[in-house]
Amino acid sequence: MTTKNIEPLWWVLFSAGGVVAAFLVPIHVILFGFAVPFGLIADTGRIYSHWLVKLYLFVLISLPLYHWAHRFLFTLVDTGLKGLRRPLAFLCYGTAIAGTLITAWVLLQI
């Protein structure tokens, strides 16, 4: 099985990740990049033990990784690394898969 045969799968994950990133990421940057560190909102992380929150975080963190993988791959291809498309595809999508597994592992730990 080559990466080309499963191209539609990467595309679905890419667009799902794009939707998640578009709708959910900016407010998370505002909350965790600014509001929480500066004490505007209290956060001790206690809600993370709820399974519904874990499910949400899994979607929030893992899907945009596939969005990254797809865009980053074609950025590299478009800036002159066309000949390396296959190894780069393995590297990018592989990183996203590894990220998904690590996300699941972290969420199951807490």
Partner: protein
Amino acid sequence: MSAVRPDKSKLYYPKMPSAWWLRRLSYFLFMMRELSSVFIALFLVIYLAQIHQLTKGPGAYVAFAQKFQSPGWIAFHVVVLAFALYHTYTWFASSAVVMPLKIGDRFIPQNAVVLLNIAAWVVVSTVIAALFMMFQG
């Protein structure tokens, strides 16, 4: 369909300089849109690292967040927020083209689709912020 495909070496492959995207503003903005995914992914990985601190207790988690008060982290989050908002806008703008919406037989104008998306985004963001404040407090 029976024509023999010429050798790969005989096909014409135009050579693109790797800095082609610096030639025009529109190319540059395209590249920034692609680059937004890098900053979004970085932010989420760091967020995951912060969540991982909970395995060492709530103190480690809070201490991790307090590091973000430094100027370097503020600058990083400003850049991430700018890229994230740019992704949101370009995603809505392109989905209006890729997935046009119809009411009856008539297509909704693309600007209206973008505005509907932005309205939905404001609602979603407000709900997330409200839920977070309600359950953390």
